[in-house]
C-alpha cells in the first residue's frame, strides 16, 4: 500500500483502529490538525489498552512498589531486585492470551520470546522461565489442540534459546473455553553495576535497528489484544507473529556482548506495537525526541507502507541507542553473531517524533502526550447482581468413601500430575535447577554463592470469581507460603492481571477489588510489586473469563544447605500440621471437581496468620529442622498429604481429630511439615513462640496413606494414589 492508496483519515477510520470518538478528538486537538494515516495508526497503538494501561492505571497505583531489595520498580521493561553478593535479578511476567487462542503454537512461543527480550534488554542474562496456563474444559472444542500447541510452542522456543522452564501452573475451567490464558514469566541475573535502563538519552546519539527484518506479521497485534473476540477470531490469525528462537538466541548473546562494552546507552525490544512503542517509550522515559528514517529499516519484502513498518510486530528485533562514534563497534559484535544492524535515526532534544519515508515526513508527533500523558479512565464500577446468591453458603455433602474421594480428586487434570507438560520443557539446562517443576516453588542455585532463588506463580480464579478482593489477597498469600516452604523470603512480585472487558462495570469492579486485595496482602506481607502486565478483553461474545490475577513471586534463600522438599523422605519422620482449620468449602476443589458446585465465600485470608506461618517456616528451614514442608491449597489436607507421599513413594500413618469431610477443607495459612523424631519438641516450642497452631499427626512410613478421623479412616495404597494422579492428564488428553 503506497501513501497514495492510504484510506482517508476520519473518525470512522479511527474507530476501526480501536480509538473511541473522544480519543480521536483529543489527537486532533493535540496536533491542531487532522493526523496523517500513519500518525493515526501510531496513536491507536500507543493509546490501546495493551500499551497505555488506560483503564487500569488508576488502580495499579495502589500497589506498594518500594522495598529494601528494589532497584527498579514498574515502568521499565522489567523490574529489578538486589539479590546480594553484587548480583541483581530482573524479572517480569506478560500475557500472550489473545494470540495463543488464535494460533496456540506461535502465540505461546512468541510470548516466551517477548518476555525473554524484556529481561535481557535490562542487561540481565535470562536464567529461568515460569508459565501460568489456564485452559478450558479438556473436552471443549479445540481445547486439546490448544493445549498441545501452547505446550509445544513454549517448549520449542525456550528449549532452543536454552532457558529452563522451571515451574508455573496449569489450570482447567470451562470459563476459559473461548479465552485461554498464557502468562509467561522470565527472570535474569546481572552484576549490579551492569544494569541497563531503556532510556533514550544524549541528543545526536544514533538509533540502531538490530535483529530480524521487518515483515507484515503481527500488524496491529496490540490493538487486537485490546479487543474482545467475536465469532470471527479465527480470521485474526494474520495478526499473530511468528517466532524464531535461534535468532532470539543470537540476539540475546549479541545484546549482552554489546552491553558489556560502553558503546550503547539503551536497548529496547520491539514488542507490542513494534517500532512505535519501542521508539516512543525510550524517548518518553528520557524526555527526549527522535528522528526516524523508515527507508533504512531492513525489510523482509519490498513495498511496506510507513504505517506497516511502524506497526509491524515481527519478532526478534531490537532498537538500540548507541554512543555517537561507536556504531562500528556495535555493528561488529552483531555481525559476529550473524545479525544485521542498521542506523535508522537519532535521538533529538525537542520531545517530538519526526518520521520520514522517502522525502516525505509521514509523522510528526509529540511524544509525552502520546505516552506518559495518554488518556486515563476511571471506568464505572458495579458489583455483579448475583453476587450474594453465589456467595450463599454451599451445602457440603459427606464423602462416602474417603480413599475413593481422594483418588477421584487426584485423577482430575486440575489436581493430577502435570509432568506431561513440563517434561516437554528443558528444566535443567544452565545447571542451576535445584528444585524443578512440580514442587511448591522452584529453587535455583546462584552459582558462586551459598544462596538460591525461589520462584512460584499462583492464583485461584474460582476464589477470585466468588470474591475478587479476597481472591487477590489469597494469590499473594499463597505465593508467600509456597516460598516459605523452601525457606525463601519474598523480595518482589510481578503479575499478569487477566480480566474481561473493562468497559463492563462488573469487570471493572472485579479488577478494582482484585487489585485492592492484592495490594493489601503485599503491604501486610511486605512484598513490593516491581513489574507486571494487564490483559483486558479476555472475553468472547460477551462472556468473560473468571478474574485471574496471576502472581509470580521471587524469594531469596540465604543458604541452600538445609533445603526442605515437598515430599516425605524418611521413614519414622514425624508429620505435623501447622495452622488451624475452619472447615471452609466455598470455591473448593472438593465441591467444584466432585460436585459441580462453585458457590460460597472463598476461604478467609488472615494476613497476620499467613505472616506468622511464613516466618515460622523460614526460621525452621534456616535452622535445618525441616525435612519436608508442603503448603495446603486446593483440595486441603488430603491432597497435600497425598502429594507428600506420592513423590517419595513413602506412606504415612496419621490421625486427626476432625470430621472426615474436613480433610478437603481449604482453610488458608496452613502447611504440613515432617521432622526427625528428636526435633518434635523443638518444633512445638518454636510454633508456640511464633504463635502458629500446631498438631502432631503421626509418622512417615509404609506403603499406605492412613488418616484416622472422627468416625472414618482414609486408607489408600500410595501406589494407587500415584496411579490416579500420574495418569490423570494423559488420560484426559488421550494423545
Amino acid at each position: 500500500m503506497s501513501a497514495a492508496q492510504e484510506p482517508a483519515v476520519n473518525q470512522r477510520l479511527a474507530v476501526t483502529m480501536g480509538l473511541n470518538k473522544e480519543e480521536y478528538v483529543r489527537i486532533r486537538e493535540l496536533l491542531g490538525r487532522k493526523p496523517t494515516y500513519t500518525e493515526l495508526g501510531i496513536t491507536a497503538a500507543l493509546w490501546s489498552e495493551h500499551c497505555s494501561y488506560k483503564s487500569s492505571k488508576v488502580y495499579l497505583q495502589e500497589f506498594p512498589t518500594q522495598g529494601e531489595h528494589v532497584l527498579q520498580g514498574p515502568g521499565e521493561n522489567a523490574g529489578i531486585v538486589d539479590i546480594g553478593n553484587g548480583w541483581v535479578a530482573a524479572f517480569k511476567m506478560e500475557s500472550h492470551n489473545h494470540p495463543s487462542f488464535i494460533e496456540p503454537y506461535q502465540g505461546a512461543a512468541t510470548g516466551v520470546g517477548g518476555i525473554l527480550r524484556d529481561v535481557f534488554t535490562m542487561g540481565a542474562r535470562p536464567i529461568a522461565c515460569l508459565d501460568s496456563l489456564r485452559f478450558g474444559a479438556i473436552d471443549a472444542p479445540r481445547m486439546k489442540h490448544l493445549i498441545d500447541g501452547v505446550v509445544r510452542g513454549i517448549g520449542d522456543y525456550g528449549n532452543c534459546v536454552g532457558i529452563p522452564t522451571v515451574g508455573g501452573e496449569t489450570g482447567f475451567h470451562s470459563g476459559y473455553d473461548n479465552n485461554i490464558l498464557v502468562n509467561a514469566f522470565a527472570l535474569g541475573v546481572a552484576r549490579r553495576e551492569r544494569i541497563f535502563n531503556a532510556v533514550a538519552s544524549g541528543p545526536g546519539n544514533p538509533l540502531l535497528y538490530a535483529g530480524s527484518r521487518t515483515g507484515r506479521d503481527g500488524i496491529h497485534g496490540a490493538t487486537m489484544a485490546s479487543e474482545s473476540f467475536g465469532a470471527e477470531s479465527e480470521s485474526k490469525r494474520p495478526t499473530v507473529q511468528v517466532g524464531d528462537p535461534f535468532t532470539e538466541k543470537v540476539l540475546l548473546e549479541a545484546c549482552l556482548a554489546v552491553m558489556r562494552t560502553d558503546a550503547v546507552v539503551a536497548v529496547q525490544d520491539m514488542g507490542a506495537a513494534g517500532l512505535t512503542s519501542s521508539a516512543f517509550e525510550m524517548a518518553d522515559r528520557g524526555g527526549t525526541g527522535l528522528r526516524l528514517d523508515l527507508d533504512r529499516v531492513p525489510l523482509r519484502e519490498k513495498g511496506l507502507s510507513p504505517y506497516e513498518i511502524m506497526l509491524s510486530e515481527s519478532q526478534e528485533r531490537m532498537l538500540l541507542v548507541a554512543r555517537r562514534g561507536r556504531e562500528e563497534e556495535v555493528a561488529r559484535i552483531f555481525e559476529r553473531w550473524g545479525l544485521e544492524v542498521s542506523e535508522i535515526g537519532e535521538v533529538t532534544e525537542d520531545g517530538m517524533a519526526r518520521i520520514k519515508a522517502g522525502r516525505k515526513e509521514v509523522a510528526n508527533l509529540p511524544i509525552a502526550p502520546l505516552g506518559k500523558n495518554a488518556p486515563m479512565y476511571r471506568r464505572p464500577v458495579e458489583a455483579p447482581k448475583d453476587l450474594s446468591k453465589r456467595q450463599a453458603p454451599p451445602e457440603v455433602p459427606q464423602p462416602d468413601d474417603l480413599a475413593g474421594t481422594l483418588e477421584g480428586l487426584l485423577g482430575t487434570p486440575e489436581l493430577g500430575d502435570k509432568s506431561w507438560i513440563w517434561r516437554q520443557y528443558d528444566h535443567t539446562v544452565r545447571t542451576n535447577t535445584v528444585i524443578g517443576p512440580g514442587g511448591d516453588a522452584a529453587v535455583l542455585l546462584l552459582k558462586g554463592t551459598p544462596s538460591g532463588l525461589a520462584l512460584t506463580s499462583d492464583v485461584n480464579p474460582v476464589y477470585c470469581s466468588l470474591d475478587p478482593s479476597s481472591g487477590g489477597s489469597q494469590a499473594v498469600a499463597e505465593a508467600v507460603r509456597n516460598l516459605a516452604c523452601v525457606g525463601a523470603e519474598p523480595i518482589g512480585l510481578t503479575d499478569c492481571l487477566n480480566f474481561g472487558n473493562p468497559e463492563d462495570p462488573t469487570i471493572s469492579w472485579q479488577f478494582r477489588e482484585c487489585v485492592h486485595g492484592m495490594a493489601a496482602a503485599c503491604e501486610a506481607l511486605d512484598v513490593p510489586v516491581i513489574s507486571g502486565n494487564v490483559s483486558f478483553y479476555n472475553e468472547t461474545e460477551g462472556k468473560s473469563i473468571p478474574p485471574t490475577p496471576t502472581v509470580a513471586m521471587v524469594g531469596l534463600i540465604p543458604d541452600l544447605a538445609s533445603l526442605p522438599v515437598a515430599h516425605f523422605t524418611n521413614s519414622g519422620d514425624r508429620v505435623l500440621l501447622l495452622g488451624e482449620d475452619y472447615g471452609e468449602f466455598g470455591g473448593s476443589a472438593y465441591l467444584r471437581l466432585l460436585h459441580g458446585v462453585e458457590q460460597g465465600r472463598p476461604p478467609k485470608v488472615d494476613l497476620r496468620a499467613e505472616e506468622r506461618l511464613a516466618d515460622l517456616l523460614r526460621f525452621l528451614a534456616f535452622e535445618g529442622i525441616l525435612r519436608t514442608a508442603h503448603d495446603l491449597s486446593e483440595g486441603g489436607l488430603a491432597i497435600a498429604l497425598a502429594e507428600a507421599t506420592i513423590d517419595g513413594g513413602l506412606g504415612a500413618d496419621l490421625a486427626v481429630d476432625i470430621d472426615p469431610v474436613r480433610l478437603f477443607s481449604e482453610t488458608q495459612a496452613r502447611a504440613i511439615v515432617a521432622v526427625a523424631p528428636h526435633d518434635v519438641e523443638r518444633i512445638m516450642e518454636e510454633a508456640t513462640e511464633f504463635e502458629v497452631p500446631i498438631t502432631e499427626l503421626g509418622s512417615v512410613g509404609g506403603d499406605r496413606l492412613k488418616v484416622r478421623c472422627d468416625g472414618a479412616t482414609l486408607d489408600a495404597q500410595v501406589e494407587d494414589l500415584y496411579r490416579s494422579w500420574s495418569t490423570a492428564l494423559p488420560r484426559a488428553l488421550d494423545f
Binding site: 509445544r152 517448549g155 520449542d156 528449549n159 532452543c160 534459546v161 536454552g162 524464531d244 528462537p245 535461534f246 535468532t247 538466541k249 543470537v250 548473546e253 553473531w337 550473524g338 509432568s419 513440563w422 517434561r423 516437554q424 520443557y425 528443558d426 528444566h427 535443567t428 539446562v429 544452565r430 545447571t431 535447577t433 535445584v434 542455585l445 552459582k447 541452600l560
Partner: protein, 241 residues
C-alpha cells in the same frame, strides 16, 4: 588438561560444560568459536548441547560444514579426545566420526527427565572412573534422540564393543515389555544411549553428564565422565565420595 568447548551460535550447554571442567574440576578451559578453524592446542574437545545453527533442517546437519568441524575431524583422526553431548552427539553422527543416526523421539515430543544408564565399557578415557555394569542416573533433554542404524551396523557396533552407555531400568536390567517404553524414553535401537569410535577416543552420548556433576543437585553420577577424561581422576573421585 587443556579443554576446549566449541561454541556454535545456538549452543546452550556450552557454559554448563565449561563450569564443570573449570570450576568443579579445575581444568584449563577455552571456548572455541565455530567460525575459527583452530582448536588452540586443546587436548579434549567437547561439542556441547544446544541447537547449533537452529537445527531447523535436521539436528547437527549444518554444523558439519562449519570451519571448526574440519579441525575437530583432524583432531579425532589423529587420536585426540572428542566428547559430543546431546546436540554434540548428533553432530558427530552427521560428520561420520561415529556410526548411526538420530530420529525424533518415539513420543514425537521433547523429553526432559532423568533416565538410567548402564556403563557397558569402563576401559575408555571417558569411562575409566566407572565400573562396567555400573548404573548411572542422568538427565536427558532432547527431541531427536532415538538412535538408529541398520541391523548390520548395529551388530557390528555390538561386536566391536562400541556401545558405551545403554538405557536400562533403575536396577540396571535391560528394559523389556512395558518397561521398555518407560526407560528407553526416546525409543533408541537396542537402547543405545552412547557410542564410541573404533579407537575409543571419540564418544557421543545423548544424556547430559554436566547436569549431574555437583552435590547440590543431589546427583554427581555424571562427573566421572569429565574427571576421567581430564585425567583428574583422583580429584574427581574425591568429589564423588
Amino acid at each position: 588438561m587443556r579443554c576446549g568447548v566449541v561454541v556454535f551460535p545456538g549452543s546452550n550447554c556450552d557454559h554448563d560444560v565449561y563450569h564443570v571442567l573449570k570450576h568443579v574440576l579445575d581444568q584449563e578451559v577455552l571456548f572455541l568459536w565455530h567460525g575459527d578453524a583452530d582448536l588452540r592446542d586443546c587436548q579434549l574437545v567437547v561439542l556441547p548441547g544446544g541447537f547449533s545453527y537452529g537445527d531447523y533442517l535436521r539436528a547437527g546437519a549444518m554444523a558439519v560444514h562449519s570451519p571448526i568441524l574440519e579441525e575437530v575431524r583432524r583432531h579425532a583422526e589423529s587420536g585426540g579426545q572428542v566428547l559430543g553431548i546431546c546436540n554434540g552427539f548428533q553432530i558427530l553422527l552427521e560428520t561420520g566420526l561415529l556410526d548411526g543416526a538420530m530420529r525424533r523421539n518415539r513420543s514425537l515430543r521433547f523429553e526432559c527427565r532423568d533416565v538410567y544408564l548402564r556403563v557397558e565399557r569402563d576401559d575408555l578415557p571417558f569411562t575409566s572412573d566407572y565400573d562396567q555394569g555400573q548404573v548411572l542416573r542422568m538427565p536427558i533433554a532432547h527431541a531427536e534422540g532415538s538412535y538408529i542404524g541398520s541391523e548390520e551396523m548395529l551388530d557390528e557396533l555390538e561386536e566391536s564393543s562400541r556401545v558405551v552407555f545403554r538405557y536400562v531400568t533403575p536396577d540396571g536390567a535391560d528394559a523389556t515389555g512395558e518397561d521398555e517404553e518407560r526407560w528407553n524414553v526416546n525409543g533408541s535401537a537396542r537402547a543405545i544411549a552412547g557410542v564410541c569410535n573404533e579407537a575409543g577416543n571419540v564418544l557421543g552420548m545423548m544424556p547430559h553428564p554436566e547436569r549431574c556433576a555437583e552435590q547440590v543437585f543431589g546427583n554427581v553420577d555424571g562427573l566421572a565422565v569429565f574427571a576421567a577424561v581430564a585425567g583428574a581422576g583422583a580429584r574427581g573421585l574425591g568429589v564423588l565420595s
